[in-house]
Amino acid sequence: MKVRGSKELLEEIIGSGLCVYCGACSGGCPYLAPYKGRVVLLHNCALSQGQCYQYCPQTYTDMDELSQQIFGVPYGQDEIGVARETLLARSTNAEIREKGQDGGVVTTILSLALDEGLIDCAVTSRMSVDKTPAGFLARNQEELLKCSTTSYEASPVLEAYNRIPKQSTEKLGVVGLPCQVRALAKMKAYPPENRVNVNNIKLVVGIFCGWALLPAEFHQFLTENYDLSQVVKFDIPHHPEHTFDVYTKSGKKSIEINEVRKFINPACSYCPDMVAEFADISVGSGRHKYKGWNTVIVRTKTGAELMELAKAKAALECQPLPDENLINLKQAALRKKKRALANIVAKTGSKKNLLYLGVSPALVNKLLT
């Protein structure tokens, strides 16, 4: 792909409604900074090619190349990507479960990885007191617990990763949404310069994602309706429920999900990845009678080894993913792919121009039928 610079990044992506606010472009230089839902150009960078453009998940991405690099297979063979194992899991630690979104699996496996020295530091998203999410470096379970639960807003986690001093030798585990995982995959394929060594990343945990909310606008909406310092958790229960739940210390308030859908980042409608296909382990919420559990997809050898360790140490309670759930998962993932392709082609007007998506025409046709 033709790597361009910050000027083009601002024109083609940020200024064109394609920015997913993942933070991949920021933190590695003094020019770009994420702030209140926008990526801001602070000063004029004169470079015609930049790593901001190169690692942005919304610039041209050869999905086959990334898939080959990580898994040794072409992209698109399975709706949910490469899956060594699919299962339901939840933490055996009561505190983690209590503070977690669903089963506390992400916190558990990161905590385990830290304890075992597989990683020295976890790069995750943490909400501030007023529930604004941002990247955070956690080095122990206590800090990890501060990162529990999601804001449902886009969080520029990768900015925190990019800020890590380039001479750092800390082994890293990174948690991200599918777009962030895609950006990391690009970094692994084309290792960054003058930044922290991408080989420091020993573990990538992906989070399932249908869409993310626009931070500034949704936050404004929340501030107008809630005292955010009293909020302990947000949750979107599965279909056929249709609410956005806000848990405060005194109870739960529910908003009609359609009220919240107004704040979906339009850029998300072009994303085909529901299950973070390029991660080592992908984690989502359990459905219906598995509320309080996580759906887990193990993808790589690294992921498998960590899951084995978690089972061996009884850090996780596991059970096989029932067939019905797997089918639903694949259908949901496929729906997102199809929707994305349709939206992309509607935006560009041509099957040949897929914006950032580099996939084979065969796959395109398959998804568009």
Binding site: Y35, H43, N44, L47, Q51, C52, E193, N194
Partner: protein, 645 residues
């Protein structure tokens, strides 16, 4: 600077025009001198300060020129000879009071010294203040060298008392800042006693002499009579001289700095026998009879004067009233396009005009040399005005730039007059989009703070200096609070009136004499006016950005941010060493690579940082770097290292 109180009449001393003005005031027995710093006038008060204690003179920096003149008038009304000095912009500030002073008249001699800046080398406007004398009826004296600067200033006090009105001595940069020989006069040994005689007299109740309400028209009439008396004196003043042939092919009429330019031009052209020079020193009211007589020497007249056609028009008016059978006069000057009506002049421009009129070629240098020199000049890089290395304003403007970008609502800054005027230049990252007169930054942005009803939601940051704040911004702050404007004012407190020469001001705790005095604390003042006040260190960029973002997000109300950090030149003079030894680690510097792209030299732009093109790295220029260490926080790679000295 030589002592200007040398008691040796007849001795010749080399003096700056401004020093000579001060000496002239001393010889006139001045005992009260007030001013506000402003180039090219500042040295006048500074010179008087050096002898003020010994000669029992009250010398002060007033908070602004209006107050300076009012203070001097107070002394004059109470029987003390007084002088107020300022630059052309200062006269504008004082002009409201001038317009009344000419009505009331004065007590003891009151002299107004105004120093213009033709070419506006250090001003936000170019103005020819001689016009104020015509407008407000003030006798005007224009010295053409330091000797005249002294003699005219001395005479101005006598004139002021004889006429009963304020008199103006008009200087320009070239006169104020050039040294020429001055033969000294005598220094008076008077004792000055202040007493205001015009108090209420119970036996004969009546209005005070120095009041103007109800009756200025009649006072105006009286003023004209005073000017008529001045005219009489001017007709025989030795300050008006003709030099040259009895009958000349060309008569040059000139004044001020242009006297020297004209003389040099004529000598260069070797036209001393053909071109005569009428040098005028008393230029308002114009000594008409005298000038009329000189006009008879030639039928061609060239006016060599700077900026406005002040004398040109007066003489043309005069010529319009000459007897019908007078020889026809052809005038050259600004109207004819021979002399430009803006910027300062020089002997070359005068020579070009004279040569043109005389029909001769003036080729001051070899044509080839001229072409080559012009071509070579194109290769010279455009050098902008720059903030000093170590200047706290650099930190402030960098923070303003980033804060406005982060805020993202098309915000902007408005500045005005001082070192921080460079906020509108590259050195200040072009952040100040509007810049006018002292205090206008606050005034204008306070106005914009009341445009909500028209959908205006751009954050506006007013920027002013510490001295400017006291001089002119306070009324705007009061107005903002009173009229509920959305208002953010950053006061860049570097503890000095820096641009004009580090003079003290009400916030510094020292007066013009160097004595410790009351501090007018700006935070307390602003809070008492009802503004919310934050104090930041200009070198703490992160905190400044956070503060600005918070204030801009809050929206409503009047807020002041005092950016406190001492002017680097003040600090350097006092401490005589750098706080840090700064260097760039070439192993850490990534230069033009992605992750930096030469941020320090290309964007941040402190003159202490230079780009080594061959090595592809930034370097500290040791001869320029002040060792402040601000760049250390800006470098994204931590490649700039500071070590405490």
């Amino acid at each position: 600077m030589p002592r200007i109180d040398i008691d040796a009449p007849g001795t010749s001393v080399l003096l700056l025009g401004n020093e000579a003005i001060a000496r002239g005031a001393l010889e006139a027995g001045v005992a009260f001198a007030s001013s506000y710093p402003g180039n090219p006038s500042s040295e006048i008060l500074e010179t008087i300060v050096t002898v003020a204690t010994e000669r029992n003179i009250h010398a002060e920096w007033s908070v602004n020129e209006k107050v300076a003149l009012e203070a001097a008038a107070g002394a004059s009304f109470a029987g003390i000879r007084a002088m107020a000095s300022m630059k052309q912009n200062g006269l504008n500030v004082a002009s409201d009071f001038v317009s009344n002073l000419v009505m009331t008249g004065v007590g003891k001699g009151l002299v107004l010294v105004v120093c213009d800046d033709p070419g506006s080398l250090s001003s936000s406007s170019e103005l020819d203040t001689r016009n104020l004398c015509k407008w407000m009826d003030i006798p005007l004296l224009e010295p053409s060298n330091s000797q005249e600067a002294k003699d005219m200033t001395k005479w101005a006090f006598d004139l002021s008392e004889e006429l009963g009105t304020i008199c103006m001595v008009h200087s320009v940069s070239r006169i104020s800042h050039t040294r020429t020989n001055v033969k000294l006069g005598e220094l008076p040994k008077t004792e000055n006693k202040a007493y205001f005689t015009d108090i209420y007299d119970i036996n004969k109740p009546g209005r005070g002499k120095f009041t103007t309400i109800a009756g200025p028209a009649e006072l105006h009439n009286q003023l004209h009579q005073k000017l008529a008396r001045a005219l009489d004196k001017f007709e025989s003043s030795p300050f008006n001289q003709y030099t040259g042939p009895d009958k000349a092919e060309l008569l040059v009429i000139t004044s001020g700095a242009c006297v020297a330019y004209s003389a040099e031009a004529i000598a260069e052209l070797k036209l001393e026998n053909k071109v005569g020079v009428l040098k005028l020193g008393t230029t308002w009211p114009l000594p008409e009879k005298f000038v009329e007589k000189q006009l008879a020497r030639s039928q061609k007249v060239l006016f060599v004067e700077e900026v406005d056609p002040f004398i040109e028009r007066s003489v043309m008016e005069l010529a319009a009233n000459l007897p019908a059978d007078s020889p026809h006069l052809t005038f050259y000057g600004k109207r004819s396009g021979h002399i430009r009506q803006y910027a300062d002049l020089n002997p070359d421009l005068a020579a070009n005009a004279i040569a043109n009129i005389m029909g001769i070629t003036y080729c001051p240098r070899d044509v080839h040399y001229d072409e080559e020199a012009t071509e070579l000049a194109k290769a010279s890089p455009l050098r902008s005005l720059e903030l000093c290395p170590g200047c706290p304003h650099r930190g402030t403007f960098w923070a303003i730039k980033e804060a406005l970008r982060l805020d993202g609502r098309d915000g902007f800054a408005i500045g005005d007059v001082g070192c921080y005027s460079l906020g509108g230049f590259r050195s200040g990252y072009y952040q100040c989009r509007i810049s006018n007169v002292m205090g206008s930054g606050a005034g204008i942005s306070n106005g914009m703070g009341n445009l909500r009803q028209f959908g205006f939601d751009q954050p506006v940051i007013a920027v002013c200096g510490d001295s400017t704040f006291y001089h002119a911004s306070v009324p705007a702050l009061i107005s903002a609070v009173y009229n509920k404007a959305n208002f953010i004012l950053m006061i860049l407190d570097n503890s000095a009136t820096a641009m004009t020469g580090f003079q003290p001001h009400p916030g510094t705790g020292k007066n013009a004499m160097g004595e410790i005095t009351n501090i007018v604390d700006m935070e307390t003042l602003c809070r008492s006016l009802g503004a919310h006040v934050d104090v930041c260190d200009s070198f703490d960029i992160k905190n400044t950005i956070a503060t600005l973002l918070r204030l801009m997000a809050e929206g409503d109300g009047s807020k002041v941010v005092v950016m406190r950090h001492e002017c680097e030149l003040l600090r350097a003079r006092r401490e005589k060493k750098r706080p840090y030894q700064v260097h760039v680690d070439p192993d850490k510097c990534i230069g033009e690579a992605c992750g930096c792209d030469r941020l320090c030299t290309r964007e941040f732009g402190c003159p202490g940082l230079i780009w080594d093109k061959e090595a592809g790295k930034s370097k500290i220029d040791e001869s320029v770097c002040s060792g402040c260490g601000l760049c250390v926080d800006v470098c994204p790679q931590g490649a700039i290292i500071k070590e405490a000295v």
